[in-house]
Structure formats: C-alpha cells, structure tokens
Amino acid sequence: MGRLEGRIINIMGDFITSFLSGPVPIEAYLAVSTIMFFAGVYGFLSRKNMLMVLVSVELMLNAADLNFVVFNRYLYPGQLEGFFFTLFAIGIAAAETAIAIAIIINIYRHVKSIYIDENITKMKN
C-alpha cells in the first residue's frame, strides 16, 4: 500500500511542480472551462428563476469561448480564427441576453413572476 500511495503522491507532486515552474499548462484552462460549463448545465437544469437560468446559459457560453481561445493560443499560435469566433460569440450572446431579458420583463408584467412554474402556462399552445 505504501508504494501505491507513494506513487500517487509522486504524480501529484510532479503535476503541481510543473504547474508552478513553467507557463500555465493547457489542462488548467480546460479544467476551469469544464467546471464553468457544468456549473452552467447544473444551473440551467435546476434554477427556477429565469434570470438565474439566463446567467447559467451565459456561463456555458463563456466556457465554450474560453475553450476556443485556449485552443487557438496553444495549438495554433500563429492564427486568429479562435479569437474572432469568440468575439462573435460574445457579441451574439450580448444581443441574445438583451432579448431574453426583454422577454422576461414582459412575462413579469403579465404574471408578476419570473419563476418557471405553473404560473407560466400562458405560453403553452
């Protein structure tokens, strides 16, 4: 047992030293973006407040943007497609958020609530 523990500690030690010694490795960025994405997914699925749902959607989008930027930076350093893509995505996300908030405001005016529940049945049919 002692040997296995020793090996795990060794691997983790290597990981941390490589983190601290050189430039930030790509895995760190990807880990952050994955956490962001699933936080977004979780929020999207579980929140009842429409604003929070919207925030979660933004979180997922931003995680994707982060991936674009990181891959562009690390894999194809001489090119700019990833950055441009990200800029477009941010722009579109901003417009989409504006529309979403407009809708939410309108819903609020009608039903005095922005919670996703039985109150909002008027949009059925």
């Binding site: 997914v41 999207f44 699925l45 579980s46 749902v53 996703i116 049945t121 059925k124």
Partner: protein
C-alpha cells in the same frame, strides 16, 4: 321493331307524371293533379290497347303462326364484362302484352274512381304521384327483358306498395301494416335475389329470351350434374326464385302481409293488392315457365301444392272474417293461389299446357272482377263509413248501382256461367283434374268455399237485415259509378275472350274447349256454396252463430287466421331475436367490440404514460438531452477504450 316505337311511352308517361305530381303537386289544385294523372293513364291505356291489337293481330305472329317475343327497345345499361351486363328494355310477348292491357285498364279505372273517393283527402296529389309511380313500376316489371330488370322493378313495386299502404301515415295501424308488408316481401325478395344470382351464375345471362330459348336448353345444360343437398342446382335456383314470387303473391307462409295491407286507401288496394301487384309472382313463374317445366319439374309440383293448400286455407279464413276488405284480401290470396296451382299442374305445349293458359286467363279475369269488388267495397265504405259487416245490411235499395255491379263480380268470382270467372276457373279445374287429381279435389272444395263466402259477403252487405243509418247511405258521384259500370262489363265479358288463341305456353294458338264434365261439376259446387250462403245469410237468423259455436275451436282458429301471424311473431321474436340475434349481438359486443375497445384502451394508456414526457418544462427536456448525451459519450468512450486496449 319500329312498329312498336310508341309503346315506350307507356313506360315514360307514368314516370314523368310521377315527377310532375311528386315535385309540383303541392302547387296544383287537387282536381288538376287528379285529372292530369287520369289523363296520362288514359293515354297509356290507349297505347296499350294499340300495342295489344298490333301485337296479336298484325305483327306478333311469325310466319309459322307462333307468337314470338319481340324486343321493342333494348339497350345496355350496366356493363361489367362482355357476358355480364344488365340491360333495360321492353320485351313484348303474349303475357306481357296481356299484362299491359290489364294493368293500364285497372289503373285507369282506379285513377278515375279515386277522383271521387279520395276527394278532400289530405295529400291527394301525393296519392296520385304514388299511383303513377306504381303504374310505372308494374309496367316496367311486366315488360322486363331480363330477370335483373324485373328485379329492379320488382323492388320499385314493393316500395310504391309500401308508400300507398302507409298513405294515412298518421294512423299507427297503417304504418305498422306498411312496415309489415315491406319487411315480409323484402324477406322473400332476398331469396329471389339469391335465386337470380344462382341462375345467372351458371347460365351466364340474365336475358329471358336466352334463358327460355329452345326448351330452356342453356339452363339445363349449364347446371347439369350439379346438386346440393340432394336437389339439383337448377331446382334450388328455381325454388328460391319462386319463394320471391310467393312473397309478392302472398302465398303461404308469406301471406300475412296482404290482409294488413288493406289499411291503405281502398282504390289503391284494388289496384295493388288485388288486381296487379300481387299477381307479380304468378307472372314471374309464367315468365320462367319453360325453365320450370324442362329444368325443375319437381318445383312445379311444389308450386302446385303450395298453391292448392293456400287456396283452401285462405278460402276457409275468408269465411270467418267480418271486415269486408279482409274478406276480399283473403279471397285474393285464394284466387292467386288458384293461378299458381294452375301453373304448377301445367305441362308444356298445346292442350298439355292448358294449366299455363288457364292460370294466365284467371289472372286476366280475376284482375277485373277483383278490382271491381274492391271498388264496390270502397263505395260501400264511403257510404256507411265502416269496414265492418255488422254495420251494414239492407243496402240493396240504397246503393243500386253498387249492388248490381257487386253482384256481377260476385257471380264472376263464384264461377257461374256466363260470367268471366266461370271460364277461367273451369280451365284451371280441368287442368288440375288432368294432371293431379288430389289437387283437383282441393281446388273444387276451395271453389265451393269461394262461392259460399262471397255469397255471405254479398248478402250480408246488401240484404240480411234492415239497418237504421245515421246518415242515409247514398250512391257516390259519377266518377265512382262509371268505373264500376265499366269494370262490371269487363267482369262479365272477359270470359268470352278466346284466350287460348292468344296466350299459350309455347306461343302456338289453339282452340280450347270447355270440359263439360268439369264445368257442370264446378257450377254445381258453386251453386251449392251459394245455396248454403242464401240459407244462412239472406235473412237475419241465428243459424250461422249456431254453426260457429258447434265447431267453436275450428271457428276460432279460422277467425284468427290459423295463428299464422302469431307463429311468425313467435319465430321472429323468440327464436330469431332472442336466440340467434341475441347471441350474435353478445358476441359482437364482447368480442368484436371488446377487441376494438381494448385496442383503444391500450392506446390511451400508452399515450397517457408518454404524455408525461412532454410536460412543457424546457428544463426537463434539457435534462433528458443531457442524459442522452452522457450516455452516448460514455458508451462511445467505453467502446473506444475497449478498441484501444485490444
């Protein structure tokens, strides 16, 4: 044949008149509608007489002196294959020409008579429209070129009969009677249809001319060697066809509708349920006679026996009825049975075919005297406002014209020389004696009974006792009296027509002689019947009641028409409805419906389960999507790992 081009008008006029009166009758005065209908009938009658004259004296006889059948008018109507097609047309041969004359004459008389009888009735125009429809249907039936055309018109006749019986449709009894008539005849027509299909399946044709050509060769050869339940297929077909005829002609056991059909207006009864429609069955058998004779002689024997038994049965029942129209109805059944028996005992050709000739002859004379009897009954009912004998008596002085014309019809139906019924009935009895002696005995008894019950009817109405009436009965107007007188002339004189010169089984004219032995016997039997009738009913006395009570059981049975209606009701209600139909209904409800219901139930259950998936909550959908994606990723990842590790 160009010479007969005009005769198609005999069919076209009534149907046009039906449309005019049926659609436009509401906007006409009743008198105009009635006159219009009667005029068209008069034109048709003239055309029919011209046709008859031309056929019998100028064109009809071929070079060899045999009356041939002429297709005046013929076109293909529905064509299914080369051999299977339904045609329409006009087929003139001695019996159809004879029927044209009979139908148009009686129908004309009834039209004119109805002008007076139906005056002031609600639906007068409708009545004339239906009469026209009936005339069209009946004429179409007799001139049919093929058995399917005949069937079409056969059903049309049934419909118009239904419409006329239920003319007083606010009367529940009339409605019930019309339904009964329609259902019973329709039931019998079902057998007719099966018979037609059977016959045409084997012969491959509907055409009468082809079917009966050269001694019904095609029928015999095409069905040769086929049998079913010990009877040849041809016999089955002909038996089924006869059953259809028995339904229309009110033979036992299908006779139950005819007495009830008397709920209709009396002139319509005279036309339909006495003179013309009810002889359709006789006409049918006569039309197919060569097939019966050469292909299915045993069915002819069946027909003869059914006829003989019905003749006797109806005559017995007629003796006990008190409603005068019902007496006449049973008398009609009995007389039609005479005709069928006559056809049944007949052989083919010349003197051997005497029965055929006699049956047709009796049809001819019977149409006139029975129409006359019914129209007289109408006049009497018109005068005393009742159908019951008990409300009548001593009418001879008050209704002299009716009394005399009724008397002529009475002597005609009783078969007294020289009235028309004598000649035709004598031929029938002669034919029966020659070929089937037991039937001759039965018919003689029935003839005696006929004389007796007609005497009873006549005396009970016109003599018996002096009655005091609320309204003094008086003779109806000329529109009712004139048809009576004209028909009386026919009823008297129709017997002198040398019928065997025109209508014979094989088309060859010959001279028929009165068989003196038969004639004397039948007249004697009739005289005995009349004598007994006079003894019992000339003056009011208590002998009839005594006789009735001395044979009370039998009298009760006869009075209740031997419980045939009850028997049918029992069979339909307790056996067919309760046992067979109820079982089938149970099976239908439990199994057929149950299967369908369970299908629906499963679908419903499935859909109500599935519908929860579609909640409308976008987050649930997203979750499902996420889970699906995860499963794919995990599955694909696992597969990839397994692939790499291999």
């Amino acid at each position: 044949m160009d010479a007969f081009n005009y005769s198609i008008l005999i069919l076209v006029l009534p149907v046009v008149m039906f449309l005019i009166l049926g659609l436009g009758g509401k906007y006409m005065k009743p008198v105009i509608a009635g006159t219009l209908g009667s005029l068209s009938l008069a034109v048709m009658a003239v055309l029919a007489y011209t046709t008859a004259y031309q056929y019998f004296f100028e064109v009809g006889k071929g070079a060899d002196g045999v009356y041939q059948a002429i297709n005046v008018f013929h076109f293909q109507w529905l064509r299914f294959t080369d051999t299977l097609h339904i045609d329409l047309g006009m087929y003139l041969d001695p019996i159809s020409v004879m029927m044209l004359v009979v139908i148009t004459t009686v129908s004309l008389m009834v039209h004119v008579y109805s002008l007076g009888y139906m005056k002031g009735e609600k639906g007068f125009q409708r009545y004339y429209a239906f009469l026209s429809l009936f005339s069209f249907a009946m004429l179409g039936l007799v001139v049919a070129t093929n058995i399917f055309q005949m069937y079409i018109f056969w059903e049309l006749v049934g419909v118009s009969s239904f419409l006329l019986i239920s003319f007083y449709y606010v009367k529940p009894s009339a409605v019930a009677a019309s339904k009964k008539a329609f259902i019973v005849t329709r039931f019998a027509d079902f057998f007719f249809l099966v018979g037609i299909l059977l016959l045409s399946y084997f012969t491959g044709t509907f055409d009468f001319a082809t079917l009966t050509a050269s001694n019904a060769d095609i029928c015999v050869s095409s069905t040769a060697g086929m049998s079913f339940l010990g009877m040849s297929v041809l016999s089955w077909a002909m038996l089924l066809i006869f059953m259809g005829g028995a339904g229309k002609s009110a033979m036992m056991p299908f006779h139950i509708w005819l007495p009830d059909a008397m709920e209709g207006p009396t002139p319509a009864s005279a036309l339909i349920h006495a003179a013309t429609m009810v002889v359709a069955g006789v006409f049918l058998v006569a039309r197919l006679f060569p097939i019966y004779h050469f292909g299915a002689p045993e069915i002819l024997t069946v027909i003869a026996w059914v006829g003989a038994i019905t003749a006797l049965f109806a005559a017995v029942v007629a003796c006990t009825q008190t409603d005068i129209k019902r007496v006449l109805a049973f008398s009609t059944i009995s007389q039609i049975a005479f005709m069928l028996t006559s056809l049944g005992v007949s052989k083919f050709g010349d003197h051997e075919g005497l029965g055929y000739m006699a049956g047709m002859f009796h049809l001819f004379t019977h149409a006139f005297f029975k129409a006359l009897l019914f129209l007289c009954a109408g006049a009497i009912i018109h005068a005393v406002h009742s159908n019951e004998m008990g409300d009548m008596g001593g009418l001879a002085k008050k209704l002299p014209i009716t009394c005399i014309t009724f008397g002529i019809a009475w002597l005609a139906i009783a078969g007294i020389y020289p009235f028309s019924g004598f000649f035709s009935k004598d031929e029938i009895l002669a034919a029966a004696m020659e070929h089937n002696f037991p039937i001759y005995i039965i018919l003689s008894v029935a003839a005696g009974l006929t004389a007796f019950y007609m005497t009873r009817l006549f005396l009970r109405i016109f003599f018996y006792e002096k009655k005091h009436y609320h309204h003094e009965p008086h003779e109806a107007g000329p529109s009712m009296a004139i048809p009576l007188i004209i028909l009386a002339v026919f009823a008297f004189g129709a017997g002198f027509v040398p019928f065997s010169k025109f209508v014979t089984s094989d088309g060859v004219p010959y001279d028929a002689h009165i068989n003196m032995q038969v004639a004397v016997t039948s007249v004697l039997i009739s005289l005995v019947g009349i004598g007994i009738g006079f003894r019992l009913y000339f003056k009011k006395n208590d002998i009839p009641d005594k006789i009735a009570s001395s044979i009370s059981t039998f009298y009760k049975w006869a009075h209740n028409k031997f419980y045939f209606d009850e028997l049918w009701l029992y069979v339909t209600r307790n056996i067919i409805f309760k046992r067979i139909s109820a079982t089938i209904a149970w099976f239908d409800k439990k199994f057929v419906d149950g299967f369908m219901d369970s299908l629906a139930y499963v679908t419903q259950a499935a859909s109500s389960t599935i519908k929860n998936f579609q909640s409308g909550y976008i987050q649930q959908y997203a979750l499902a999507y996420l889970l699906g994606a995860l499963i794919l990723v995990v599955g694909f990842g696992g597969w990839l790992i397994a692939f790499i590790c291999k």
